[in-house]
């Protein structure tokens, strides 16, 4: 399997507030990104959680509902994608989330077997 050096892709992972999903999605679509995968996650961070009380039992809940967006993009689009996410997901309050970029070496579209850039 050849390394597609000239054809690098990156995985942009964004952890955001759930109600921002729709806005982020449409911003990414506007960039021409036609696909993404979304997962409901629980986040722990600076944003403080809350306390729940059930009869005598009190629980400090430190995990908050977040949404994780994973979008694989050609190397050249990474910055635009990150910028679009930052712009739309930001509320300015603690807990807005993070964006991580990591390398993808290979991509395949299951339906057609197309690979790499043409797969995403």
């Amino acid at each position: 399997r050849p390394e597609h050096k000239g054809n690098q892709m990156k995985l942009v992972t964004a952890i955001i507030k759930p109600f921002k999903l729709e806005e982020v999605r449409s911003a990414l679509t506007d960039l021409g990104l036609q696909g993404m995968t979304v997962t409901e996650v629980k986040g722990y961070g600076r944003q403080k959680g809350h306390t729940e009380i059930y009869r005598g039992a009190e629980y400090a809940v430190s995990f908050l509902p977040k949404v994780k967006i994973e979008v694989v993009v050609p190397e050249g689009t990474v910055d635009k994608a990150v910028e679009a996410i930052v712009r739309t997901a930001r509320t300015g309050q603690i807990g807005d989330g993070k964006i991580f970029v990591s390398p993808i070496e290979h991509a395949v579209r299951v339906r057609t077997g197309e690979t790499d850039d043409s797969a995403i």
Binding site: F19, E22, H50, T51, E52, I53, Y54, Q93
Partner: protein
């Protein structure tokens, strides 16, 4: 010899016997106080339980299923809380304000003579709509209590997902005191069959000088009634008192509290139509207590109310689904459930007056109109009546109240209106009755609309109606109650 037979023969025997007896007339003049028929008691106990079932868990689930997960618990809590609070208020002074004689304010509201249920014992009885048929007063209090509980609970759906719990805590006691109890009194309070029949008989028997006195007595009896009852408005089980009343109050609330954050932009699908269907089904089941129980007897009229409550509901559900199929391509469960509730609302005032075929027609009309209202008109107007309290309960209630004026006509299979003074069903003047119905509708719309607006405004000033935007986003479950509905 079965019981029924023996009683029948006893009746005949006694009739014969009485004719032989010289002192027979003595009986009529000093009758023993009527005692309840245990069949009526059994039914009214059951009916009271059914109306509670209709509210919790019925209404709580119907509403709860329609909100988003993060507000589910708050919805359940609000309905449950309202029920508990109004139960207590009812026995403290609500029953008295609604169903006792109100002195100079009698046209509008009752008095405080029965506050704390003063004087009521297990032996006390309340009259039904049949002269001589009574039920234990405690049963009557329970039955009417469940009505007082569900009415304000209906309102909360309009402000769902965005009204603070503390606002509700303040609003509810004000609302039942200044809106519900008076309207219940205006529409349902009257002197009762015993007094009416008695006065009518005395009047009929009176001659000479006694005539004027008897007439005056008769007039006093007739005047001893709430405003709308005095007009002759028909409301079998609460079309005006319960549904129009809560529907218009809900609209006021929705307007004053404002739209939900994200309304029209974010998706707000019902978090569990399963719960909504369970709720709708329990509303249907419980509504038989509501409607057939409003006969106050285990009688043919109760049976009529029951069958009407079956068919109007079914017809409205089918109509709503059909309208959806035509307008949107697919019949939906939420449509069916909403239609069922619209049908139930519409048949409420008509249940004991219309015939089954009339009830079907009423259901169809309610299904179509409410469906149209909750999609086209509501969207056009742009207010956020979150769970369509206005579109279903107020609109459906108006359809029912006006429809009752038409469908009660014997010519349309209705029962007509029983005239206690003559002891038989009177002639039916459809136009006049329709106008009377319309007057009662307007009275309710105005009293409750204005009253609710004022009360919501007061609450807004005192504690505020809404949580902060962030809190609203987090959801009322955590913000108001520190709990989550689900921890799967």
């Amino acid at each position: 010899m079965s019981l029924g037979t023996s009683r029948r023969i006893a009746t005949l025997a006694v009739t014969a016997f009485m004719l032989c007896l010289a002192a027979a007339s003595a009986f009529a003049q000093t009758p023993a106080p009527p005692t309840p028929n245990k069949g009526d008691v059994a039914w009214m106990l059951t009916a009271s339980v059914l109306v509670l079932l209709m509210t919790v868990p019925g209404l709580a689930l119907f509403y709860g299923g329609l909100v988003r997960t993060k507000n589910m618990l708050s919805m359940l809590m609000q309905v449950f809380f309202v029920v508990c609070l109004v139960c207590i208020i009812w026995v403290l002074y609500g029953y008295s304000l609604a169903f006792s004689e109100g002195g100079s304010l009698n046209a509008y509201v009752g008095g405080l003579s029965k506050a704390f249920l003063a004087g009521v014992t297990p032996e006390s009885t309340a009259e039904t709509f049949t002269d001589g048929a009574v039920i234990p007063e405690y049963v009557y209090i329970c039955f009417q209590m469940t009505f007082a509980c569900i009415t304000p609970a209906l309102i909360v759906g309009a402000m769902a997902e965005r009204m603070k719990f503390s606002a509700l805590v303040l609003f509810i006691p004000l609302w039942v005191t200044f809106v519900y109890f008076p309207i219940a009194h205006m529409v349902w309070y009257w002197a009762g069959p015993g007094a009416t029949v008695g006065a009518a008989k005395t009047l009929a028997a009176a001659t000479g000088d006694a005539k004027a006195a008897a007439q005056a007595a008769m007039d006093a009896v007739t005047a001893n009634a709430g405003l709308a009852f005095g007009w002759g408005a028909l409301d079998f089980a609460g079309g005006t008192v319960v549904h129009i009343n809560s529907g218009i109050a809900g609209l006021m609330g929705a307007l004053l509290v404002g739209r939900r954050v994200g309304y029209g932009k974010e998706a707000m699908p019902p978090h569990s139509l399963t719960m909504t269907l369970v709720g709708a089904a329990l509303l249907w089941v419980g509504w038989f207590g509501f409607n057939a129980g409003s006969a106050l007897e285990a009688s043919g009229t109760a049976a009529l109310a029951m069958i009407n409550t079956f068919v109007a509901t079914a017809a409205a559900a089918l109509a709503w689904m059909l309208a959806e199929k035509v307008a949107k391509g697919k019949p939906s469960l939420l449509g069916g459930a909403s239609g069922a509730v619209a049908g139930l609302v519409a048949v409420t005032p008509a249940a004991g007056f219309a015939g089954p075929m009339g009830a079907i027609v009423l259901g169809i009309v309610a299904g179509f109109v409410c469906m149209f209202f909750c999609s086209a008109i509501k969207n056009a107007l742009g207010y956020d009546d979150a769970l369509d309290v206005f579109g279903v309960h107020c609109i459906g209630g108006i359809i029912g109240a006006l429809g009752t004026g038409i469908l009660a006509a014997p010519i349309l299979g209705g029962t007509g209106v029983f005239d206690y003074t003559t002891g038989k069903v009177g002639d039916y003047d459809m136009a006049a009755q329709f106008i009377t119905q319309a007057k009662a509708v307007c009275l309710t719309l105005i009293w409750s609309g204005v009253g609710s607006f004022i009360l919501f405004s007061i609450v807004k000033m005192v504690v505020g109606l809404r949580p902060g935007t962030d809190q609203e986003r987090e959801g009322l479950d955590l913000v108001d109650h520190g709990e989550r509905a689900y921890n799967y």
